[in-house]
């Protein structure tokens, strides 16, 4: 317990880095995921093929490989750099890798939402003369959006937990690294582990409860 109190400031600083990565990744992966799903459902075969190929390849690649490649391949070998400062550079490499990876799950969650809308809804919308954008705005998206809340919540929770893998991209400031670093000093400490786990739960559990509650409340009765 004394270890936990002694190292609390370092651990908290590490955890705040996880929160920072999560916030940036949440925004970027939502944007990228929306673009991907737009490609996957478009009437353009080339875009559909690219979207499907990207999602299937990236979703089946281990995140550790994606992040290690971002650091060793993209940055060290190919010279893609975000900043002269190594820690800032690796922060953005983590954000890049994790967003590219999470976007595939966001895309699948959104696509599952569109798939829940029955064909009859779209046919009825066309039959009463609604244009493409009208039927999208008034019929399809309101129904799809509700079906998407719970899966998107799960995707975001998984993404927050995945920020700990940042260490694979050489980012040595977030809580998994700080915990390892502390264990190197003090030996294994159960209170420190439990402390970090609780910090993660404080962030992830409310997201799970809130999205679950919202999804139930807004569920489309069919």
């Amino acid at each position: 317990m004394n270890d936990l109190i002694k190292y609390a400031p370092d651990l908290l600083a590490g955890f705040l880095k996880n929160v920072q990565i999560s916030l940036v990744c949440a925004v970027l992966s939502m944007i990228l995921g929306t673009l991907l799903v737009a490609m996957r459902v478009s009437p353009t075969p080339v875009l559909r093929a690219v979207g499907t190929g990207y999602v299937n390849v990236v979703r089946n690649t281990p995140l550790t490989l994606v992040l290690a490649f971002a650091a060793l391949g993209l940055s060290d070998t190919l010279g893609v750099s975000f900043s002269q400062e190594p820690s800032t550079n690796s922060f953005w490499l983590v954000v890049l890798g994790l967003s590219l990876y999470t976007a595939t799950f966001v895309c699948e969650a959104l696509r599952s939402g569109i798939n829940t809308v029955p064909m009859g809804q779209a046919e009825a919308a066309r039959a009463i003369g609604l244009t493409f954008f009208q039927s999208l705005r008034m019929i399809i998206l309101p129904q799809a959006f509700r079906a998407v809340i719970a899966p998107l919540g799960s995707v975001m929770i998984a993404m927050i937990k995945n920020t700990t893998v940042a260490i694979a991209a050489g980012y040595l400031a977030e809580s998994a690294f700080v915990m390892k670093d502390t264990f190197d000093d003090t030996g294994v400490s159960i209170p420190i582990f439990i402390g970090i786990v609780i910090a993660f739960m404080i962030v992830t559990l409310p997201i799970g409860f809130f999205t679950g509650w919202l999804a139930n409340r807004l569920a489309v009765a069919r």
Binding site: N60, T61, L65, F69, N115, I157, T164, K180, V197, F200
Partner: protein
Amino acid sequence: MNGQASVLFDAPGPRARLRNNILTLLAAIAVAAVLYVIYARFAEKGQFDGQIWKPFADPFTWTEYIIPGLLGTLKAAGLGAVFALIFGAVFGLARLSDHRWIRVPAGAVVETFRAIPLLLLIFFLFYLAPSVLGGGDYTLIALVAGLTLYNGSVLAEVVRAGVRAVPRGQSEAAYAIGLRKNQVMRLVLLPQAVTAMMPAIVSQLVVLLKDTALGYIIAYVDLLNYGFKIIPAVNFGSLIPAAIVIGVIYVGLNMVLSALATWLEKRSRRSRKTTAGPIVPPGAVAVGDTVAAVD
């Protein structure tokens, strides 16, 4: 989708077809431009030199590095899968128990391990093992134990959802003909539940296989370790070719497993052996015929 109506797009008429063809052309140009930028960057940094690709034409690289690495990955994944399935079955059924003193602790264990970031759990076990068991190499043990606790907890939820997906009439009928509690579970509920949860189980095994790569961080000698540390160290400059080769292996393995899940899903959907449809466990996303576990 092209040429027929979907939820989003009506069947295209002449004008829409023309528009789609123009969009296709523009998209093809954009894709080609992106590919060219990547190609140019690779060429500029000399990534197409025969020298750095040569080791992969040499059988020695495969027998000495890639195959032992793959075996390391498969060993961790195999052990993790077996233990996680056992863990999932035990805790999934425990959560369905009629006795509160079994149900509540089992639920607490499952919910806790599902919420812990896997890498933190692996680090913790990796540092805990030597202080409990004495010195030695605990990379495999920490990795397998972490994979078991996390994926086992997710599988416990799959088992629970699977048994619950069997309609109530089935167990009511079984009780009515005089079967005992364990007979109802063993003879009626489980055989039907297993068919319903197979696709979800297989897609969780894809997650487990992907997560073995976390072993790289605690220096477990797996495919990722050979590809990113050992091969580039032996063959200078071969990092990107090595990353591409092992990436293809990982993606190939996972796609085969995912295809199996999709096939099982289709089969269980039309199966007459079960009254329960294929389940989507909490935290998974179902699109059409596939269940993708989120990770």
